[in-house]
C-alpha cells in the first residue's frame, strides 16, 4: 500500500511517501492511521487531532471510515488551501 503525506502532516512525519504492508486488521483509513501512530513520535504528533485530517483514497477525497485494501494509494493531509 502506497501512503502519501502532505502539508504539515508530511512535515511532522518527515517523509512524503512510503510503501507499507499494514496488518490484516487495518481495513479502513482510520485503522491505518491508528496503526501508523505506533510507528513513532512524528506519526503520533501528525495524527494527534483526527478532526484536522483529510484523506484521499486513490486520489479521490474519502472519509476516515473509507475501506482500503493492499493496492490502494492512500493520502493523509491537512485541509486543502488551494487558489
Amino acid at each position: 500500500m502506497q501512503v502519501l503525506y502532505f502539508g504539515w502532516v508530511r512535515a511532522r512525519i518527515g517523509i512524503s511517501k512510503e510503501e507499507l504492508s499494514p496488518p490484516p486488521e487495518v481495513t479502513t483509513v482510520a485503522s491505518l492511521i491508528d496503526w501508523l501512530k505506533g510507528r513513532g513520535d512524528g506519526y503520533a504528533t501528525a495524527f494527534e487531532d483526527s478532526t484536522s485530517l483529510r484523506v484521499a483514497v486513490n486520489q479521490e477525497i474519502a472519509q476516515l471510515d473509507a475501506e482500503i485494501t493492499d493496492g490502494d494509494e492512500v493520502a493523509v493531509f491537512p485541509p486543502m488551501t488551494g487558489g
Binding site: 502519501l4 502532505f6 504539515w8 486520489q59 477525497i61 491537512p78 486543502m80 488551501t81 488551494g82 487558489g83
Partner: protein
C-alpha cells in the same frame, strides 16, 4: 483546460488565445490570485506551494467539468502554480468565457471558491518568525458550501 505548473503565466496572452477566433464570447471573467507580502502584521518573504501530483490534475479537471455542466460556457482555463513564490507573484488564474456575462462571472467565482477547499494544495509561508503553514479558513468552507446543490447533498 487546466494546467499545473511552476512557471508563471501571461494573463493577456491566455485571454487573447481564448477569444481569438471565437466571436460567440460576449463576456469573459477572470481571477488572479497573488502572493501578498503580509500575513496579518507579519512580513512574508516567500511562499511554497506543495500539491498532490495526479490528484491535483484530476480535481481541477473535475472542477472545470462541473462549471461547464452548471453554466453554458465557451471556454474555461485554470492555471495553478506550485513551488516557491515571492510576494507579488501570481499563484492561480481562472478564466471563464460565455456568451453572457452572468455565466462567466458566476462560474469564475464558483471555481475560485471550490479551488480554495477542493484543490490539493498546501501553502507554507516563510515569515519573519519562521515557517508557518497557511490554515484553511472557515469562511472559505462557507463560500464553497454555498455552491452545493440540494441534489448533491
Amino acid at each position: 483546460m487546466i494546467r499545473v505548473q511552476t512557471e508563471d503565466f501571461d494573463i493577456g496572452a491566455e485571454i487573447g488565445k481564448m477569444t481569438a477566433g471565437n466571436s460567440e464570447i460576449g463576456g469573459l471573467a477572470s481571477f488572479v490570485g497573488l502572493v501578498r507580502d503580509y500575513a496579518g502584521d507579519e512580513k512574508i518573504s516567500s511562499m511554497t506551494l506543495e500539491h498532490y501530483p495526479g490528484m491535483t490534475e484530476k480535481q481541477l479537471s473535475r472542477l472545470e467539468a462541473e462549471a461547464r455542466e452548471r453554466w453554458d460556457l465557451q471556454d474555461v482555463l485554470i492555471i495553478h502554480r506550485y513551488g516557491t513564490l515571492n510576494p507579488g507573484d501570481r499563484i492561480v488564474l481562472v478564466v471563464t468565457a460565455s456568451a453572457h456575462r452572468e455565466a462567466s462571472l458566476e462560474s469564475c467565482q464558483f471555481l475560485i471558491d471550490w479551488l480554495k477547499t477542493k484543490a490539493p494544495f498546501w501553502k507554507l509561508e516563510d515569515r519573519e518568525s519562521g515557517a508557518q503553514w497557511v490554515e484553511s479558513r472557515s469562511e472559505d468552507s462557507v463560500a464553497a458550501d454555498k455552491w452545493v446543490r440540494v441534489t448533491d447533498a
